[in-house]
Amino acid sequence: MSRTEVSLARRRLFLRDSAAFLVLALITGALFLVTLFLFRSFTSHRAELAVRWSGRGKDALQAGKPQEAIVALRTGLSYAPGTRSYELLLAQALEDAGRTDEASNYFMNLWVAQPGDGFINLELARLAAKRNDPRDAVKYYRASIYGTWEGDGVVRRREVRLELARYLIAQHNTNAARIELLIAAGNSPSDPKLNRTLADLLVETGDVADGFAFYNKVIEADSKNQAALAGAGRAAYRLGNFATAHSLLERALEAKASPLEKNQTHSGELETMLKNSRRILELRPSGKLRSSERVSRILVDLGIAKKRFSSCAAGFGTTDKLPPALEELNARWASDDVDHGRAKLLQSAARQDAAVQLIYDTEVQTSRICGVAGGDDALLLLLAKSPDTVER
């Protein structure tokens, strides 16, 4: 080939290659457009399917059909992988369906991605509680309290703390529960409903005094709050503050909305407590009473206690066989120091106090040795256990 021919051939080749690339570019462009059109249609259809199935899952979950919800949510997630709201719903459905292992795994997996998420930690805590794993449960409850929450973080954290307190109470870890409740109380606004919950739970932990204080807060805001009045009445009764208990229990029963409610077992218990507190107030030989009134009560109480002692001692046959505590009581009852005459009692406050002490000691010792008695003896025993608070 001559140089001219080579040059011409090169030019032809260049043109041919250019044309080929142009055709390729056009084919690529056309293919791209077709793919794009199909892809848009494809993705929108998938999105529709995701919404449809997750909606079904949500409905099933709300309708208490977790198995159906699991299938639907899994399908929804296969069309929209990684959608957090669907994932959380699915985890919840697994939990509701009793598939604790799967739910734990799933929540654990979500937790790995978001270890600070309040909701995920809460669910993990609940699952650990279900598995009877208190260590993990408490760990996740605490992580949930200090975790992140969307929107109403303060309220959710408080709710979780209360849930933790309930869990700790159930685990008989009342000290830890009490601390959680006091922290929750310290961080919360004075809301009657919340105060009542705190009061109920504090009483459950054994912190009756703080519980009583929170009931009072509720009553301050709503003096006719029957539940608060009843709770406060019970708390006052347990604290030995029978005068207050009587007043509160009376108000609680008054606040009952209907006669039907009044007949419920719950109010039966309240009525018993009210009756007991009224009787205690009648029996109590308070130092604040007029001397004649006090002596009258002491004489009644002495009669009750003496009877209780006699019946308890009779159980042992002869006086030789009495246990040392009863023997000592027997000696006191027989002693001249204890003259049970009204006149003598009226003459000396010290004698009155000695008589009261004998009554209380008798009730305490006989209950220990002969078992708890009922009726007035039981009420005197209550007085014996909290003689100071009675005066309040």
Partner: protein
């Protein structure tokens, strides 16, 4: 067994326009090199678009045929795959006879037997029938068909551009890498897989184009699907105390891959030996059985199973279900693949690995909490995928990079390497022939493989080298002095060799006769000149002990003995080799 379905008859290369391919090379010698790179990008883009369309087609068909939420107890779960199997069998037999199998070996066969030729009909058939098979629930994957589709596109374009046969051959792996990269959204893994499994040997000449093609196709795929990897990988954590747990995974992964490979190795040739009409029934029957697995409780094993992999990674299954899924996927894939239904093994392998990994992880977490397993189930599923990939597909390098690429986390590398190595060793010990090689052998083909290369131990010069016992002369000696020295070796025969150490550090190996001839023509004036001046500029080649022994062979035509020198000290003699030494060493193998 016939290899008919694996290979295609290559048509004659057409001379484009008025000039032949040879003439084209003569008038524009650099044209092919430039076109090669440009076309790699175009092939990558088109392969990427086709891979996106392929995946869409599979998912459309899946929803259309099996419904948007296939669940156990739906009769269509076994009716549809069975009908689809029959349709596929008919079309495979009468319309697209070359589309059987995964596509990897077909591409490899095209590369080594037909100069990279894959017909357009095969591309169309592979696209349609694989999409129908996977979409209807056959337990197969889309990656290997995407690889073949990419290779087919590359073959078509390169032929239309009128490139030489050598170039045509190189385009097949470019398209294959592009198709696979787009299907798996992981370019590095695709490149390594094509090198390990398709080309079967490291080839620097094509690497640049493979990278260009793969990257182009992934860019296109990511434009559509987004840049996230194929699987949503949960946070991957690793504590070195967990290595024991991953070791267990490696052992079980090795055993599982062994069972999987043995099952295919047993069933496939038996099914292929059946008569033609029985073979026509096989895809339908496989569909019926695979559908039965779905109908009776495990629809997750149907199709490619990416959703189930995602669910396993995100801890949506308990360990027993995960284990059942792994076992039934092995059964389902063995049935689908052995029946000759077109579709790949890439996705099923990952599925089995993910299920097995997550199952073992969940089991260990549940029953051995003292192992302090901090890693999520996703980590175990991920490592499990790598384990099966390394042990079953015997692509250890790809398996490690695949895990790194899809997780984007390098902290997982230690457990991946450990578990992969254990599984790989188990698989290699009990199944010496890799699965792809086993399939080609079943089809009557013998194609090169990386594994085969690993088995070969190349001999090096040091293996044949002996101490240099030839007399040594200094090139800077005067000719007269050299003559006297040579005269001392009267007993030497003409063919005996003397080594001359020249002033530039190089050597000259001369026969006794050659020196005698030189000395015969020396005048008195020349007697005082350096010996090396009389030898001319030619020197024996610089050879070192670590070079391949075969590299010495071309030099024996000229040199009777080759001095072997030290790489660190120029000219320092380490030994010498003769032709006889080399032949003796090869014969001693």
């Amino acid at each position: 067994m016939e290899a008919n379905h694996m290979t295609e008859r290559e048509p004659e290369l057409r001379a484009t326009a008025a000039i032949s391919i040879d003439q084209t090379a003569a008038i524009a010698p650099e044209r092919e090199e430039r076109l090669f790179l440009l076309l790699s990008i175009v092939i990558g883009i088109i392969s990427g678009l086709l891979a996106v369309s392929f995946r869409m087609a599979i998912e459309w068909l899946n929803v259309l045929l099996l419904g948007s939420a296939p669940k156990p107890g739906q009769p269509r779960l076994f009716i549809i795959p069975a009908i689809a199997g029959v349709v596929i069998a008919v079309l495979t037999r009468y319309v697209f006879p070359k589309v059987r199998g995964s596509g990897v070996n077909q591409t490899k066969a095209a590369l080594y037997i037909n100069n990279g030729y894959i017909s357009f009909r095969t591309v169309i058939g592979k696209f349609m029938l694989s999409a129908l098979a996977i979409g209807s629930g056959h337990s197969l994957g889309p990656e290997d068909p995407a690889l073949q589709i990419g290779a087919g596109v590359a073959s078509l374009i390169s032929r239309k551009m009128g490139l030489s046969r050598e170039r045509l051959r190189l385009f097949a792996p470019v398209g294959a890498a592009a198709g696979l990269a787009a299907a798996f959204n992981a370019p590095i893994s695709a490149i390594l897989f094509v090198i390990e499994e398709v080309i079967g040997r490291w080839n620097a000449s094509v690497l640049g184009s493979i990278v260009l093609g793969a990257v182009s196709s992934v860019v296109v795929a990511r434009w559509f699907w987004g840049s996230q990897p194929m699987f949503r990988i949960p946070t991957v954590t690793f504590d070195s105390r967990e290595l024991l747990a991953y070791t267990v995974l490696g052992v079980f992964g090795g055993i599982a891959s062994l069972i999987f490979a043995k099952a295919i190795g047993y069933l496939r040739p038996r099914l292929r030996r059946q008569s033609a009409w029985k073979q026509m029934l096989q895809p339908g029957l496989a569909g019926l059985l695979v559908g039965g697995i779905g109908y009776f409780g495990l629809p997750q094993v149907m199709g490619a199973g990416y959703e189930a992999i995602d669910q396993a990674m995100h801890a949506q299954f308990a360990w027993k279900i995960l284990l059942a899924l792994a076992i039934f996927k092995i059964i389902a894939t063995t049935l689908s693949f052995s029946s000759g239904t077109p579709g790949g093994m890439f996705a099923p392998t990952l599925f089995i690995g993910a299920m097995l990994g997550a199952s073992i992880g969940a089991f260990e977490k549940l029953y051995f909490p003292q192992l302090h397993l901090a890693g999520s189930l996703g980590s175990y599923a991920l490592v499990g995928m790598g384990v099966l990939f390394a042990a079953f597909l015997r692509a250890p390098l790809t398996s490690v990079f695949m895990v790194l690429e899809v997780s984007g986390n390098y902290s997982i590398i230690v457990p991946v390497i450990l578990a992969n190595a254990i599984a790989y060793v188990i698989s290699r010990t009990f199944q010496p022939v890799p699965v792809f090689e086993m399939l080609t052998i079943q089809d009557g083909l013998y194609l090169p493989s990386m594994e085969e290369q690993r088995e070969e131990s190349e001999l090096h010069i040091e293996d044949a080298m002996r101490r240099a016992i030839a007399p040594v002369l200094e090139g800077t000696d005067a000719v007269a002095k050299a003559m006297k020295a040579v005269a001392q070796y009267q007993e030497m025969k003409d063919g005996s060799v003397l080594l001359i150490h020249c002033s530039d550090g190089l050597w000259y190996a001369a026969t006794h006769k050659e020196l005698e001839d030189i000395f015969a023509n020396v005048s008195e004036a020349d007697a005082s000149r350096w010996l090396e001046e009389r030898l001319g500029k030619e020197r024996t080649p610089m050879l070192f002990p670590d070079l391949l022994l075969a590299s010495t062979l071309p030099y024996f035509k000229r040199w009777p003995l080759l001095p072997i020198t030290n790489r660190a000290r120029r000219g320092a003699l380490e030994g010498a080799v003769s032709m006889a030494d080399v032949i003796k060493r090869y014969q001693a193998r």
